[in-house]
């Protein structure tokens, strides 16, 4: 498989694996039939994401993008985090094989889903437009 060294590093030793029991937002995207599920937990303080963790069922790229996106959001404001595109995640991993780009999309969506959950939990209008009817439809 033509994964970059960076992808393989994050796959072999992923950062931020686990759950946050008292998370402020939890995202859950994908489904087992498609072969990828990401569960992403965020902790938010004063509009800033202070911690992020994930659990992922999926291929090497799915695990690596989960690891990378949780790294990237930490310390960012919610608004900044929402601007992290799937391309940015892929680029931070020195690229993904074309057939694996959907994993970076999933990572972006998992993050959006977690932020959406954060707003919902606080009964605030969510700025997140979740994609529906997509192959990896938000749960």
């Amino acid at each position: 498989m033509q994964y970059s060294t960076k992808v393989m590093e994050h796959f072999a030793n992923p950062h931020n694996v686990g759950e946050i029991p008292d998370a402020d937002g939890v995202g859950y995207v994908g489904n087992p039939v498609c072969g990828d599920i990401m569960q992403l937990y965020i902790k938010v303080q004063d509009g800033v994401i202070t911690d992020a963790k994930f659990k992922t069922f999926g291929c090497g790229a799915a695990i690596a993008t989960s690891s990378m996106v949780t790294d990237m959001v930490k310390g960012k404001t919610i608004d900044e985090a929402l601007k992290i595109s799937n391309r940015a995640v892929a680029e931070a991993l020195d690229g993904l094989p074309p057939v694996k780009m959907h994993c970076s999309v999933l990572a972006e969506e998992a993050l959006a889903s977690a932020i959406d959950d954060y707003y919902k939990k606080r009964v605030l209008p969510s700025p997140v437009k979740l994609k529906v009817g997509h192959e990896h439809e938000a749960d």
Partner: protein
Amino acid sequence: MRKVYFDHAATTQPDRRVVEAMLPYLEETFGNPSSIHDYGSAAKEAIEKARARVASLINAARPEEIYFTSSGAEADNFALKGIALGNQQKGKHIVTSQIEHHAVMHSAQTMEKWGFQVTYVPVDKYGVVDPADVARAITPQTTLVSIMHANSEVGTIQPIAEIARITRERGVLLHTDAVATVGIIPVDVKELGVDLLSLSGHAFYGPKGAGALYVHKGVRIVPFIDGGVQEGGRRAGTENVPAIVGLGVAAEIAKAEVPGRGAQLTPLRDRLARGLLERIDRVYLNGHPTQRLPSHVNVCVEYIEGESILLFLNMQGVAASSGSACTSRALKASHVLTAMGVDPALAQGSLLFSLGRGNTQEDVDYVLEVLPPIVERLRQMSPLYAARKDS
């Protein structure tokens, strides 16, 4: 680190004798077999010798019944499209199964776009086609039935001889994709009763770049690659002489060694299968318990995904696959496991260990040692595993 190659279903390492036989044809004896001078004659003689050897391996009556192709996939395309197009005045219906290799399945789908009707017969939970289903699927418009000899993902062997009795009675041609069996277990076109059979050199210690289609004498087939007069006018393109020579030698070696290969592989296969079931919970063996290749152990590991297991295995020096090599870069679950009724989520965790003649008991034991911790680690990362423990 130990290196264990358990991906013989994807490809095999060419035999040293195969490679040595090819060498002179890579450089010295480089003529075009169609040329009418000594350079050409030397090349022509070499491919005719190879043709006889391949014919002998599968017990074809005549060397001219062997048409060399560039791969098993090309042989499959040639068989399906060549027969369907060549016999369409009789009818435009073909019958195949739901578990064929993509080369057959996608050829059939292309032919549907061309206006042909295709019936895809199902399989049972072991991956076996019921000959009665084939019999029911045949109509007066049917020209061809194509059922693979053994499935390359799960190793299940199909009742081809039984199906042949039906096709012969109904006056329908029978093709079998025998890429997974020729050179691995005994294959005899007369015993099987098939009219066409695909094989591929790299599947049995031969070279890449050479496959063949057996076409019983008298069968009406149109060329797939149009052009010159090579292969009796039925397959154009300058012949890949070194690869064809290599295929011939691989066939000769296989003829001598195949009878012994099962006896070597079966105990290893069974040790591996038993070990996996014992050491890892929630692991399921796929395929038929007895009607199976001596080389294949296909399992589903619940809660995790196949590719991630393979990547970790690779870091430990173990080469395996998640099923068909052709789909291992694709996204969807194996169509074979799906047809067998395996739950789609479970099918994402499929692993294929395909053994070959170089493998030893130490290889098996090494895999049994390194795999359980990998599975455990990935399960710890899996939301499905967590959810299952919660419930």
